[in-house]
Protein backbone atom coordinates (compact mmCIF):
# COMPACT_ATOMS: atom_id res chain seq x y z
CA UNK A 1 0.00 0.00 0.00
CA UNK A 2 1.40 3.39 -0.95
CA UNK A 3 1.65 6.19 1.64
CA UNK A 4 -1.21 8.07 -0.06
CA UNK A 5 -3.41 4.97 0.04
CA UNK A 6 -2.70 4.49 3.72
CA UNK A 7 -3.65 8.11 4.37
CA UNK A 8 -6.86 7.64 2.42
CA UNK A 9 -7.67 4.60 4.52
CA UNK A 10 -7.10 6.63 7.68
CA UNK A 11 -9.22 9.52 6.41
CA UNK A 12 -12.05 7.12 5.51
CA UNK A 13 -11.82 5.61 8.97
CA UNK A 14 -12.15 9.04 10.54
CA UNK A 15 -15.21 9.78 8.48
CA UNK A 16 -16.75 6.45 9.43
CA UNK A 17 -16.10 7.04 13.14
CA UNK A 18 -17.51 10.55 12.97
CA UNK A 19 -20.53 9.14 11.18
CA UNK A 20 -21.21 6.84 14.14
CA UNK A 21 -22.87 7.30 17.51
CA UNK A 22 -19.77 7.55 19.71
CA UNK A 23 -18.35 10.86 18.53
CA UNK A 24 -17.13 13.15 21.29
CA UNK A 25 -14.81 16.09 21.96
CA UNK A 26 -11.78 13.93 22.57
CA UNK A 27 -12.15 12.25 19.19
CA UNK A 28 -12.67 15.66 17.57
CA UNK A 29 -9.38 16.85 19.04
CA UNK A 30 -7.64 13.74 17.78
CA UNK A 31 -9.07 14.30 14.32
CA UNK A 32 -8.00 17.96 14.36
CA UNK A 33 -4.50 16.90 15.35
CA UNK A 34 -4.33 14.31 12.57
CA UNK A 35 -5.56 16.90 10.04
CA UNK A 36 -2.98 19.42 11.23
CA UNK A 37 -0.15 16.96 10.72
CA UNK A 38 0.05 17.52 6.98
CA UNK A 39 -1.75 19.08 4.04
CA UNK A 40 -1.96 15.62 2.53
CA UNK A 41 -4.05 14.43 5.48
CA UNK A 42 -6.30 17.43 5.19
CA UNK A 43 -6.97 17.33 1.44
CA UNK A 44 -7.58 13.59 1.55
CA UNK A 45 -10.08 14.08 4.34
CA UNK A 46 -11.78 17.05 2.62
CA UNK A 47 -12.18 15.06 -0.57
CA UNK A 48 -13.91 12.15 1.12
CA UNK A 49 -15.90 14.33 3.48
CA UNK A 50 -17.32 16.44 0.65
CA UNK A 51 -18.56 13.29 -1.07
CA UNK A 52 -20.12 11.91 2.13
CA UNK A 53 -21.96 15.21 2.58
CA UNK A 54 -23.14 15.23 -1.03
CA UNK A 55 -24.58 11.77 -0.44
CA UNK A 56 -27.07 13.41 1.97
CA UNK A 57 -29.02 14.32 -1.13
CA UNK A 58 -29.99 10.68 -1.43
CA UNK A 59 -32.65 11.31 1.21
CA UNK A 60 -34.72 12.62 -1.69
CA UNK A 61 -35.24 8.96 -2.57
CA UNK A 62 -36.91 8.27 0.74
CA UNK A 63 -40.28 6.70 0.02
CA UNK A 64 -42.40 8.46 2.61
CA UNK A 65 -44.93 10.82 0.99
CA UNK A 66 -44.67 14.57 1.45
CA UNK A 67 -46.36 14.79 4.83
CA UNK A 68 -49.64 16.69 4.77
CA UNK A 69 -49.50 19.62 7.13
CA UNK A 70 -51.68 20.12 10.15
CA UNK A 71 -54.21 22.62 8.73
CA UNK A 72 -53.07 26.13 9.64
CA UNK A 73 -55.51 28.39 11.46
CA UNK A 74 -56.95 30.77 8.91
CA UNK A 75 -57.19 33.88 10.97
CA UNK A 76 -56.50 36.30 8.10
CA UNK A 77 -58.62 37.09 5.04
CA UNK A 78 -57.34 35.46 1.83
CA UNK A 79 -57.68 36.66 -1.72
CA UNK A 80 -57.47 33.75 -4.15
CA UNK A 81 -57.70 33.31 -7.87
CA UNK A 82 -57.04 30.52 -10.35
CA UNK A 83 -54.09 30.87 -12.67
CA UNK A 84 -54.16 28.80 -15.84
CA UNK A 85 -50.72 27.90 -17.11
CA UNK A 86 -50.38 27.31 -20.86
CA UNK A 87 -49.08 23.90 -21.90
CA UNK A 88 -45.37 23.98 -22.68
CA UNK A 89 -42.81 21.28 -23.38
CA UNK A 90 -40.89 21.78 -20.20
CA UNK A 91 -43.70 22.86 -17.89
CA UNK A 92 -46.71 20.59 -17.42
CA UNK A 93 -50.10 22.19 -17.75
CA UNK A 94 -51.50 22.44 -14.26
CA UNK A 95 -54.21 24.63 -12.88
CA UNK A 96 -52.74 26.20 -9.81
CA UNK A 97 -54.77 27.83 -7.14
CA UNK A 98 -52.76 30.87 -6.17
CA UNK A 99 -53.35 32.68 -2.95
CA UNK A 100 -52.01 36.09 -2.10
CA UNK A 101 -51.40 36.67 1.54
CA UNK A 102 -52.39 40.24 2.22
CA UNK A 103 -50.19 42.22 4.53
CA UNK A 104 -50.20 40.25 7.73
CA UNK A 105 -47.89 39.39 10.53
CA UNK A 106 -48.60 35.70 10.12
CA UNK A 107 -45.76 34.44 7.93
CA UNK A 108 -45.67 30.74 7.06
CA UNK A 109 -42.62 28.58 6.63
CA UNK A 110 -39.32 27.82 8.32
CA UNK A 111 -37.09 30.88 8.59
CA UNK A 112 -33.59 31.12 7.15
CA UNK A 113 -31.40 34.19 7.49
CA UNK A 114 -27.85 35.26 6.76
CA UNK A 115 -25.91 38.12 8.32
CA UNK A 116 -24.00 40.78 6.41
CA UNK A 117 -21.25 39.04 4.46
CA UNK A 118 -22.53 35.58 5.34
CA UNK A 119 -23.46 32.84 2.88
CA UNK A 120 -25.45 29.69 3.65
CA UNK A 121 -26.63 26.65 1.69
CA UNK A 122 -29.71 24.69 2.75
CA UNK A 123 -30.75 21.26 1.50
CA UNK A 124 -34.51 20.76 1.32
CA UNK A 125 -36.16 17.36 1.81
CA UNK A 126 -37.15 17.15 -1.85
CA UNK A 127 -33.52 17.26 -2.97
CA UNK A 128 -33.51 20.96 -3.84
CA UNK A 129 -30.72 23.17 -2.61
CA UNK A 130 -30.84 26.88 -1.87
CA UNK A 131 -27.87 29.15 -1.28
CA UNK A 132 -28.55 32.40 0.55
CA UNK A 133 -26.35 35.41 -0.19
CA UNK A 134 -25.44 38.26 2.14
CA UNK A 135 -28.06 39.81 4.44
CA UNK A 136 -30.92 37.62 3.25
CA UNK A 137 -34.17 36.64 4.92
CA UNK A 138 -36.21 33.74 3.59
CA UNK A 139 -38.81 31.20 4.57
CA UNK A 140 -39.39 27.75 3.11
CA UNK A 141 -42.28 25.31 3.38
CA UNK A 142 -42.66 21.80 1.97
CA UNK A 143 -46.06 21.01 3.52
CA UNK A 144 -49.23 19.60 2.03
CA UNK A 145 -47.79 18.75 -1.36
CA UNK A 146 -46.60 22.32 -1.95
CA UNK A 147 -43.02 23.46 -2.36
CA UNK A 148 -42.74 27.13 -1.48
CA UNK A 149 -40.17 29.72 -0.59
CA UNK A 150 -40.66 33.36 0.37
CA UNK A 151 -37.83 35.79 -0.24
CA UNK A 152 -38.39 38.64 2.17
CA UNK A 153 -35.09 40.39 1.54
CA UNK A 154 -31.77 39.68 -0.20
CA UNK A 155 -30.68 37.16 -2.81
CA UNK A 156 -30.76 33.40 -3.18
CA UNK A 157 -29.66 30.80 -5.70
CA UNK A 158 -32.18 28.01 -6.27
CA UNK A 159 -31.29 24.56 -7.51
CA UNK A 160 -34.69 22.89 -7.66
CA UNK A 161 -35.20 19.14 -7.89
CA UNK A 162 -37.47 18.14 -10.75
CA UNK A 163 -40.97 17.15 -9.64
CA UNK A 164 -43.78 17.64 -12.14
CA UNK A 165 -46.41 16.86 -9.52
CA UNK A 166 -45.31 19.64 -7.22
CA UNK A 167 -44.28 22.93 -8.84
CA UNK A 168 -41.80 24.95 -6.79
CA UNK A 169 -42.88 28.52 -6.09
CA UNK A 170 -40.82 31.48 -4.94
CA UNK A 171 -42.72 34.50 -3.67
CA UNK A 172 -40.82 37.80 -3.72
CA UNK A 173 -43.02 40.78 -2.94
CA UNK A 174 -45.35 41.36 -5.87
CA UNK A 175 -43.60 38.74 -8.01
CA UNK A 176 -44.02 35.01 -7.98
CA UNK A 177 -41.74 32.54 -9.71
CA UNK A 178 -43.04 29.07 -10.57
CA UNK A 179 -40.75 26.27 -11.72
CA UNK A 180 -40.73 22.51 -11.93
CA UNK A 181 -37.03 21.87 -11.66
CA UNK A 182 -34.32 24.20 -12.72
CA UNK A 183 -31.64 26.63 -11.56
CA UNK A 184 -32.17 30.35 -11.09
CA UNK A 185 -31.52 33.25 -8.75
CA UNK A 186 -33.90 35.73 -7.23
CA UNK A 187 -32.87 39.01 -5.71
CA UNK A 188 -35.13 41.35 -3.82
CA UNK A 189 -34.57 44.82 -2.35
CA UNK A 190 -37.93 46.10 -1.14
CA UNK A 191 -40.20 46.10 -4.19
CA UNK A 192 -37.39 45.69 -6.69
CA UNK A 193 -37.17 42.05 -7.77
CA UNK A 194 -34.77 40.43 -10.20
CA UNK A 195 -35.02 36.85 -11.50
CA UNK A 196 -32.16 35.33 -13.52
CA UNK A 197 -32.49 31.89 -15.11
CA UNK A 198 -29.49 29.61 -15.51
CA UNK A 199 -31.17 26.41 -16.57
CA UNK A 200 -34.65 25.24 -17.46
CA UNK A 201 -37.62 27.55 -17.73
CA UNK A 202 -39.27 29.73 -15.19
CA UNK A 203 -42.61 31.50 -15.14
CA UNK A 204 -42.76 34.89 -13.52
CA UNK A 205 -46.26 35.81 -12.38
CA UNK A 206 -47.01 39.33 -11.25
CA UNK A 207 -50.15 40.68 -9.67
CA UNK A 208 -50.67 43.21 -12.44
CA UNK A 209 -48.72 42.10 -15.53
CA UNK A 210 -49.18 39.12 -17.87
CA UNK A 211 -47.30 35.89 -17.08
CA UNK A 212 -43.73 35.92 -18.36
CA UNK A 213 -41.65 32.90 -19.33
CA UNK A 214 -37.90 33.22 -18.90
CA UNK A 215 -35.32 31.11 -20.68
CA UNK A 216 -31.75 30.39 -19.62
CA UNK A 217 -29.63 33.50 -19.87
CA UNK A 218 -32.60 35.81 -19.37
CA UNK A 219 -33.08 38.12 -16.43
CA UNK A 220 -36.32 39.85 -15.51
CA UNK A 221 -36.20 43.01 -13.42
CA UNK A 222 -39.33 44.46 -11.90
CA UNK A 223 -39.93 47.49 -9.73
CA UNK A 224 -43.56 47.10 -8.72
CA UNK A 225 -44.84 47.17 -12.31
CA UNK A 226 -44.35 44.82 -15.27
CA UNK A 227 -40.90 43.23 -15.48
CA UNK A 228 -38.38 44.10 -18.19
CA UNK A 229 -36.30 41.28 -19.63
CA UNK A 230 -32.64 41.34 -20.57
CA UNK A 231 -30.43 38.58 -21.94
CA UNK A 232 -26.91 37.83 -20.82
CA UNK A 233 -24.12 35.69 -22.23
CA UNK A 234 -23.09 32.52 -20.37
CA UNK A 235 -19.93 34.34 -19.31
CA UNK A 236 -21.95 37.20 -17.82
CA UNK A 237 -24.14 34.66 -16.05
CA UNK A 238 -21.11 32.88 -14.60
CA UNK A 239 -19.69 36.23 -13.47
CA UNK A 240 -22.93 37.13 -11.75
CA UNK A 241 -22.72 33.86 -9.78
CA UNK A 242 -19.28 34.55 -8.35
CA UNK A 243 -20.92 35.14 -4.97
CA UNK A 244 -21.71 31.44 -4.67
CA UNK A 245 -18.01 30.95 -4.08
CA UNK A 246 -17.77 34.09 -1.97
CA UNK A 247 -16.12 36.04 -4.77
CA UNK A 248 -17.04 39.10 -6.78
CA UNK A 249 -16.05 38.93 -10.42
CA UNK A 250 -15.70 42.21 -12.29
CA UNK A 251 -15.32 42.42 -16.05
CA UNK A 252 -14.70 46.00 -17.08
CA UNK A 253 -17.19 47.71 -14.84
CA UNK A 254 -16.96 51.12 -13.23
CA UNK A 255 -15.40 51.41 -9.81
CA UNK A 256 -18.68 52.92 -8.63
CA UNK A 257 -20.56 49.76 -9.64
CA UNK A 258 -17.89 47.54 -8.14
CA UNK A 259 -18.05 49.50 -4.89
CA UNK A 260 -21.84 49.12 -4.78
CA UNK A 261 -21.41 45.36 -5.01
CA UNK A 262 -18.80 45.27 -2.25
CA UNK A 263 -21.04 47.37 -0.05
CA UNK A 264 -23.60 44.60 0.08
CA UNK A 265 -21.18 42.34 1.87
CA UNK A 266 -19.20 44.57 4.20
CA UNK A 267 -19.79 46.78 7.19
CA UNK A 268 -17.10 49.16 5.88
CA UNK A 269 -18.62 50.99 2.97
CA UNK A 270 -16.71 52.22 -0.08
CA UNK A 271 -17.49 55.80 -1.04
CA UNK A 272 -16.40 57.53 -4.27
CA UNK A 273 -14.51 60.75 -3.49
CA UNK A 274 -14.68 62.16 -7.00
CA UNK A 275 -16.23 61.28 -10.34
CA UNK A 276 -12.83 60.42 -11.83
CA UNK A 277 -12.52 57.55 -9.38
CA UNK A 278 -16.16 56.53 -9.86
CA UNK A 279 -15.68 56.20 -13.61
CA UNK A 280 -12.51 54.12 -13.47
CA UNK A 281 -12.98 50.77 -15.24
CA UNK A 282 -11.76 47.72 -13.39
CA UNK A 283 -11.73 43.94 -13.68
CA UNK A 284 -10.72 40.93 -11.62
CA UNK A 285 -11.89 38.46 -9.02
CA UNK A 286 -12.04 39.40 -5.35
CA UNK A 287 -13.11 37.93 -2.06
CA UNK A 288 -16.50 39.53 -1.39
CA UNK A 289 -15.93 40.11 2.31
CA UNK A 290 -12.38 41.41 1.95
CA UNK A 291 -13.06 45.07 1.22
CA UNK A 292 -9.78 46.04 2.92
CA UNK A 293 -7.73 44.05 0.45
CA UNK A 294 -9.67 45.59 -2.42
CA UNK A 295 -9.05 49.09 -1.09
CA UNK A 296 -5.34 48.35 -0.71
CA UNK A 297 -5.25 47.12 -4.27
CA UNK A 298 -6.94 50.30 -5.51
CA UNK A 299 -4.14 52.23 -3.88
CA UNK A 300 -1.22 50.04 -4.92
CA UNK A 301 -2.35 49.14 -8.46
CA UNK A 302 -4.36 52.18 -9.49
CA UNK A 303 -2.64 54.85 -7.46
CA UNK A 304 -5.90 56.01 -5.90
CA UNK A 305 -6.00 57.86 -2.61
CA UNK A 306 -7.72 55.67 -0.06
CA UNK A 307 -8.76 57.14 3.28
CA UNK A 308 -10.56 55.24 5.97
CA UNK A 309 -12.91 57.23 8.20
CA UNK A 310 -14.87 55.23 10.72
CA UNK A 311 -17.03 52.82 8.77
CA UNK A 312 -16.34 54.36 5.36
CA UNK A 313 -13.46 54.05 2.96
CA UNK A 314 -13.27 57.11 0.70
CA UNK A 315 -11.59 56.54 -2.65
CA UNK A 316 -10.36 59.46 -4.77
CA UNK A 317 -8.42 59.76 -7.94
CA UNK A 318 -5.61 62.29 -7.33
CA UNK A 319 -6.02 65.44 -9.43
CA UNK A 320 -2.88 66.28 -11.35
Amino acid sequence: MSPAQRIEEQAAEWIAIRDGDQWNERLQRQLDAWLAESALHRVTYLRLDSVWKRADRLQALHEAPVRPAVPRPRSRPWRAWLMQMQPRAAIASVAVAAAVITASSWAPGDRQTTQLGERKTIALPDGSRLTLNTATRMRTSMDGGHRRAWLDQGEAYFDVAHDPKHPFEVWAGPQRVVVLGTRFTVRRAGDRVQVAVLEGRVQVLSETAAPLTLLPGQTATALGAAPTVTTQTPRQAAIALGWLEGTLVFDRISLADAAAQFNRYNRKQLVMGNSKAAQLLIGGTFGATNVDAFARLLHSSFGLDVVERGDTIVVRSPEN
Partner: protein, 191 residues
Protein backbone atom coordinates in the same frame (compact mmCIF):
# COMPACT_ATOMS: atom_id res chain seq x y z
CA UNK B 1 -8.08 33.42 4.51
CA UNK B 2 -8.96 31.32 7.55
CA UNK B 3 -8.54 27.53 7.66
CA UNK B 4 -12.27 27.05 7.31
CA UNK B 5 -12.39 29.38 4.30
CA UNK B 6 -9.48 27.58 2.70
CA UNK B 7 -11.24 24.25 3.24
CA UNK B 8 -14.42 25.63 1.65
CA UNK B 9 -12.46 27.09 -1.25
CA UNK B 10 -10.76 23.76 -1.79
CA UNK B 11 -14.03 21.82 -1.82
CA UNK B 12 -15.89 24.36 -4.00
CA UNK B 13 -13.17 25.27 -6.47
CA UNK B 14 -10.54 22.56 -6.65
CA UNK B 15 -12.34 19.24 -6.18
CA UNK B 16 -14.72 19.78 -9.13
CA UNK B 17 -11.62 19.81 -11.33
CA UNK B 18 -10.73 16.21 -10.49
CA UNK B 19 -11.79 14.77 -13.89
CA UNK B 20 -9.65 17.37 -15.64
CA UNK B 21 -6.70 16.63 -13.34
CA UNK B 22 -7.10 12.86 -13.75
CA UNK B 23 -7.11 13.20 -17.53
CA UNK B 24 -3.99 15.35 -17.42
CA UNK B 25 -2.12 12.94 -15.16
CA UNK B 26 -3.08 9.89 -17.19
CA UNK B 27 -1.93 11.49 -20.42
CA UNK B 28 1.39 12.59 -19.02
CA UNK B 29 2.48 9.85 -16.67
CA UNK B 30 3.20 6.29 -17.75
CA UNK B 31 2.62 4.44 -14.48
CA UNK B 32 -1.15 4.17 -13.99
CA UNK B 33 -0.73 2.83 -10.44
CA UNK B 34 0.81 6.07 -9.31
CA UNK B 35 -1.95 8.36 -10.60
CA UNK B 36 -4.01 8.42 -7.38
CA UNK B 37 -0.96 9.28 -5.29
CA UNK B 38 0.08 11.99 -7.73
CA UNK B 39 -3.40 13.44 -7.66
CA UNK B 40 -3.38 13.67 -3.86
CA UNK B 41 0.08 15.26 -3.92
CA UNK B 42 -1.20 17.88 -6.35
CA UNK B 43 -4.10 18.59 -4.03
CA UNK B 44 -1.77 18.98 -1.05
CA UNK B 45 0.46 21.41 -2.92
CA UNK B 46 -2.49 23.39 -4.24
CA UNK B 47 -4.00 23.56 -0.75
CA UNK B 48 -0.77 24.82 0.75
CA UNK B 49 0.44 27.22 -1.90
CA UNK B 50 -2.59 28.73 -3.60
CA UNK B 51 -3.46 32.35 -2.89
CA UNK B 52 -7.11 32.22 -3.89
CA UNK B 53 -7.66 35.96 -4.04
CA UNK B 54 -4.92 36.28 -6.65
CA UNK B 55 -5.87 33.34 -8.86
CA UNK B 56 -7.23 34.15 -12.29
CA UNK B 57 -7.90 30.50 -13.10
CA UNK B 58 -7.98 27.74 -10.52
CA UNK B 59 -7.82 25.18 -13.29
CA UNK B 60 -4.61 26.63 -14.71
CA UNK B 61 -3.07 26.70 -11.25
CA UNK B 62 -3.97 23.07 -10.54
CA UNK B 63 -2.62 21.85 -13.89
CA UNK B 64 0.54 23.93 -13.59
CA UNK B 65 1.11 22.46 -10.13
CA UNK B 66 0.57 18.99 -11.59
CA UNK B 67 2.99 19.70 -14.40
CA UNK B 68 5.73 20.82 -11.98
CA UNK B 69 5.13 17.76 -9.83
CA UNK B 70 5.53 15.45 -12.80
CA UNK B 71 8.71 17.21 -13.87
CA UNK B 72 10.11 16.90 -10.33
CA UNK B 73 9.26 13.23 -10.20
CA UNK B 74 10.69 12.58 -13.64
CA UNK B 75 13.95 14.27 -12.69
CA UNK B 76 14.25 12.37 -9.44
CA UNK B 77 13.37 9.08 -11.08
CA UNK B 78 15.99 9.80 -13.71
CA UNK B 79 13.50 8.82 -16.34
CA UNK B 80 15.06 9.41 -19.66
CA UNK B 81 11.97 10.43 -21.44
CA UNK B 82 11.59 13.44 -23.58
CA UNK B 83 7.86 13.22 -23.01
CA UNK B 84 8.21 13.98 -19.34
CA UNK B 85 9.79 17.34 -20.07
CA UNK B 86 8.80 18.76 -23.38
CA UNK B 87 5.50 17.31 -24.43
CA UNK B 88 3.54 17.79 -21.28
CA UNK B 89 0.09 18.70 -22.42
CA UNK B 90 -0.31 22.43 -22.90
CA UNK B 91 -2.23 23.89 -20.04
CA UNK B 92 -5.47 25.06 -21.44
CA UNK B 93 -6.39 27.98 -19.28
CA UNK B 94 -9.81 28.18 -20.83
CA UNK B 95 -12.23 29.94 -18.62
CA UNK B 96 -13.13 29.57 -15.02
CA UNK B 97 -16.57 29.39 -16.53
CA UNK B 98 -16.00 25.68 -16.92
CA UNK B 99 -15.56 25.43 -13.18
CA UNK B 100 -18.59 27.54 -12.35
CA UNK B 101 -20.86 26.03 -14.95
CA UNK B 102 -19.80 22.51 -14.16
CA UNK B 103 -21.95 22.73 -11.06
CA UNK B 104 -24.42 19.89 -11.44
CA UNK B 105 -28.10 20.58 -11.17
CA UNK B 106 -30.07 18.77 -8.47
CA UNK B 107 -31.29 16.10 -10.85
CA UNK B 108 -27.91 15.26 -12.34
CA UNK B 109 -26.37 15.19 -8.88
CA UNK B 110 -28.97 12.70 -7.68
CA UNK B 111 -28.45 10.56 -10.80
CA UNK B 112 -24.69 10.63 -10.27
CA UNK B 113 -25.15 9.53 -6.67
CA UNK B 114 -27.50 6.72 -7.65
CA UNK B 115 -25.09 5.52 -10.32
CA UNK B 116 -22.22 5.57 -7.82
CA UNK B 117 -24.36 3.73 -5.28
CA UNK B 118 -25.14 1.00 -7.80
CA UNK B 119 -21.43 0.25 -8.13
CA UNK B 120 -20.95 -0.58 -4.45
CA UNK B 121 -20.67 -4.18 -3.24
CA UNK B 122 -24.09 -5.32 -1.90
CA UNK B 123 -23.50 -5.15 1.87
CA UNK B 124 -21.66 -1.86 1.61
CA UNK B 125 -24.45 -0.48 -0.54
CA UNK B 126 -27.12 -1.53 1.92
CA UNK B 127 -25.29 0.20 4.78
CA UNK B 128 -24.95 3.42 2.78
CA UNK B 129 -28.60 3.30 1.75
CA UNK B 130 -29.82 2.75 5.31
CA UNK B 131 -27.64 5.62 6.55
CA UNK B 132 -28.32 8.10 3.76
CA UNK B 133 -31.75 7.28 2.36
CA UNK B 134 -33.50 5.96 5.43
CA UNK B 135 -31.51 8.12 7.84
CA UNK B 136 -30.87 5.33 10.36
CA UNK B 137 -28.03 5.77 12.84
CA UNK B 138 -25.09 3.33 12.70
CA UNK B 139 -26.50 1.52 15.72
CA UNK B 140 -29.90 1.18 14.02
CA UNK B 141 -28.26 -0.04 10.81
CA UNK B 142 -26.37 -2.67 12.81
CA UNK B 143 -29.59 -3.84 14.48
CA UNK B 144 -31.54 -3.97 11.24
CA UNK B 145 -28.86 -5.86 9.34
CA UNK B 146 -27.88 -8.14 12.21
CA UNK B 147 -24.22 -7.09 12.16
CA UNK B 148 -21.92 -5.33 14.61
CA UNK B 149 -21.50 -1.56 14.74
CA UNK B 150 -17.82 -2.13 13.94
CA UNK B 151 -18.81 -3.80 10.71
CA UNK B 152 -21.12 -0.92 9.86
CA UNK B 153 -18.26 1.48 10.46
CA UNK B 154 -15.98 -0.54 8.17
CA UNK B 155 -18.62 -0.55 5.44
CA UNK B 156 -19.03 3.22 5.71
CA UNK B 157 -15.28 3.60 5.37
CA UNK B 158 -15.29 1.40 2.25
CA UNK B 159 -18.38 3.10 0.91
CA UNK B 160 -17.15 6.67 1.15
CA UNK B 161 -13.95 5.80 -0.72
CA UNK B 162 -15.83 3.99 -3.47
CA UNK B 163 -18.37 6.80 -3.79
CA UNK B 164 -15.56 9.36 -4.05
CA UNK B 165 -13.84 7.49 -6.83
CA UNK B 166 -17.09 6.98 -8.72
CA UNK B 167 -18.28 10.58 -8.36
CA UNK B 168 -15.17 12.68 -8.56
CA UNK B 169 -13.24 10.93 -11.26
CA UNK B 170 -16.08 10.39 -13.70
CA UNK B 171 -16.84 14.02 -14.46
CA UNK B 172 -17.21 12.65 -17.97
CA UNK B 173 -20.41 10.81 -17.15
CA UNK B 174 -21.68 13.84 -15.24
CA UNK B 175 -21.05 15.96 -18.33
CA UNK B 176 -22.95 13.57 -20.55
CA UNK B 177 -25.74 13.53 -17.99
CA UNK B 178 -25.85 17.29 -18.45
CA UNK B 179 -25.75 16.99 -22.23
CA UNK B 180 -28.69 14.60 -22.16
CA UNK B 181 -30.68 16.88 -19.95
CA UNK B 182 -33.18 18.40 -22.31
CA UNK B 183 -33.85 21.43 -20.27
CA UNK B 184 -30.19 22.39 -19.95
CA UNK B 185 -28.82 25.02 -22.26
CA UNK B 186 -25.81 26.25 -20.34
CA UNK B 187 -22.87 26.67 -22.66
CA UNK B 188 -19.52 25.16 -21.79
CA UNK B 189 -16.07 26.38 -22.75
CA UNK B 190 -15.99 27.98 -26.17
CA UNK B 191 -19.33 29.74 -26.16
Amino acid sequence: MTGKERDAWFVDQVLPLEPVLERFLRRNWRDADEIADLRQEVYARVYEHAVPARLESVQAFVLTTARHLLIDKARRGKIVSIEAYADLEAIDAVADEIGLERRLNARSELRLLQAALALLPPRCRQVVELRKIEGLSQREVADQMGITEDTVERQVSKGVRALADAMLKTGASADSALADDRSSSVHRGNA
